[in-house]
């Protein structure tokens, strides 16, 4: 087996602010890695850099495509990057509004990804979309509804259906449960856990929620001030934290 994504020596500065300092990461197929740390620690910057949305000042990122070819992510042409985003990569943002279009129906939001991936048969697209709505626990009868009228949790589940329907190999998630009620969060996390396991997805999950990381991730990277201060197996990092900052992070949650 070869890694899906390999990054080394990533560096990113905004003026005098260091967003990333010598960050390295290897992600294997079907592996879920959580990136945790306080806000401003560089988590989202790392996700943007790894997905080619932002060029690092230094460092190397290699993505191995489904056809076995190696892509130099920061050097991707816009066309290739768009193709990867349509087919092999998925994104789940904290705010569903960043991914959904509220001028079209719930079903169209999900079906668009299939059409972009080359599906043409309207009936079959509609059928697949209905199945995915059910899978994310949205009543398929609401396929023609306007997602603007959905609750926050439903919008988030719709976003998940939209990004997973094309069965990406690599999913970038940025605080997927942020901004939701605690009870809604738990259900969503569990839904994500089930889908990730069923589909064998590789996931890079940015979160400040230690309990979410415990539930979903195989490995954890702890970031602070743009650096990775600790990383390892999820239970190792959470049960036997070494770095003072990780100890603080873990001690501030009760029995995660």
């Amino acid at each position: 087996m070869t890694p899906l994504l390999e990054a080394a020596g990533l560096q990113l500065r905004f003026g005098r602010i260091t967003a990333l300092e010598d960050v390295s990461l290897t992600l294997w197929p079907s592996e879920v890695v959580a990136i945790v740390g306080e806000s401003g620690s560089g988590k989202s910057s790392l996700l943007r850099v790894l997905s080619g949305l932002q060029r690092p000042d230094a460092g190397r990122i290699l993505y191995r495509g489904a056809d076995g070819s190696l892509h130099d992510v920061p050097a991707l042409s816009e066309a290739t990057r768009r193709r990867l985003m349509r087919s092999e990569w998925g994104f789940v943002f904290q705010n569903p509004r960043d991914a959904l279009r509220f001028s079209v129906s719930a079903g169209a939001n999900v079906g668009e990804r299939l059409m972009a991936a080359g599906w043409r048969h309207y009936g079959r697209i509609r059928q697949e979309v209905a199945q995915w709505l059910a899978r994310v626990e949205i009543d398929p009868a609401r396929i023609d509804d306007d997602p603007a009228r959905f609750s926050g949790g439903m919008q988030q589940r719709l976003q998940i259906a939209r990004s997973l329907i094309t069965r990406p190999r690599l999913v970038f998630m940025d605080e997927p449960t942020g901004g939701l009620d605690v009870s809604v969060q738990a259900r969503l996390l569990d839904l994500i856990r089930g889908l990730v396991a069923d589909l064998g997805l590789a996931v890079l999950l940015v979160t400040h929620d230690i309990a979410a990381a415990r539930l979903l991730a195989h490995r954890i990277m702890v970031m602070r001030g743009g650096r990775v201060v600790e990383e390892g197996l999820t239970d190792r990092v959470l049960d036997d934290p070494q770095h003072p900052y990780t100890q603080l992070l873990v001690s501030s949650v009760l029995a995660a």
């Binding site: 294997w28 738990a186 259900r187 996390l189 569990d190 856990r193 539930l215 195989h218 490995r219 990383e231 390892g232 197996l233 239970d235 190792r236 049960d239 036997d240 070494q242 770095h243 003072p244 100890q247 603080l248 001690s251």
Partner: protein
């Protein structure tokens, strides 16, 4: 019998950075080995480091010094130095760990929690579910509970789910941290039976048993740990 696990000079110190850098020496150069089909019971007072030793083998604690050698895939792997990926592979295929408490996964039914590691280890899903059902029934967990997530189960019921999960897949090494702690005598008896069967199948077992009667029946050997402070 063939050696499955050999621990050499295992040391573990916790540094509590939030407590002014206080250092707790939990293990200080422990050496021990467990053979196939053998059950070694860790003994010693509370705080002696029994659970810590077990967690170092499981990998949820990092060893400070020493080697934790597991016979694996025709060779040997040092778990004290293995990376996260190898540890996951070892957990999937070779080592089982039954801790005292079940970490409940929301909304996942008991039967699936038990079947999951068997499926991960390569068993067909149907066969895994059938074995999960049989194990749960053997541990006197009524069928009506199998389809429910264990979040609302009693402590003893959760412990039995945990045991079924641990004894489900074929293992080379089983780590049992007080597996009968919250069980009634009848269920403790079932666990004794499961341990005896595993031993006959050649599984190496490292256990912590507070129930002396259970320990005397299953353990071939005691390994005494002493709190490090007293030893010093």
């Amino acid at each position: 019998m063939q050696e499955v696990l050999r621990i050499e000079g295992l040391a573990k110190t916790f540094t509590l950075h939030l407590q002014g850098g206080a250092r707790i020496v939990a293990l200080d150069g422990v050496s021990l080995s467990v053979a196939a089909g053998e059950c070694v019971a860790l003994a010693g007072p509370s705080g002696a480091g029994k659970s810590t030793l077990m967690r170092c083998v499981w990998g949820s604690y990092g060893a400070g010094a020493g080697r934790i050698l597991l016979r694996h895939a025709g060779g040997e792997i040092d778990l004290a130095r293995a990376d996260a990926r190898s540890l996951r592979e070892i957990r999937r295929t070779a080592i089982g760990y039954v801790s005292q408490f079940l970490r409940v996964i929301p909304r996942v039914p008991a039967l699936e929690i038990v079947a999951e590691p068997m499926i991960a280890a390569g068993m067909a899903a149907e066969e895994a579910r059938e074995r999960a059902r049989a194990l749960l029934l053997r541990l006197n967990l009524p069928e009506a509970l199998h389809a429910l997530p264990p979040a609302t189960f009693s402590g003893g019921e959760q412990q039995r789910v945990n045991l079924a999960r641990g004894f489900g897949p074929p293992r080379r090494l089983l780590l049992l941290d007080e597996p009968t702690a919250s069980l009634d005598p009848a269920n403790a008896e079932v666990v004794v039976g499961l341990i005896e069967e595993a031993k006959r199948a050649g599984v190496a077992i490292l256990g912590i048993f507070h129930d002396q009667a259970v320990r005397d029946r299953v353990a071939d050997r005691l390994f005494e740990l002493h709190p490090v402070r007293e030893r010093a």
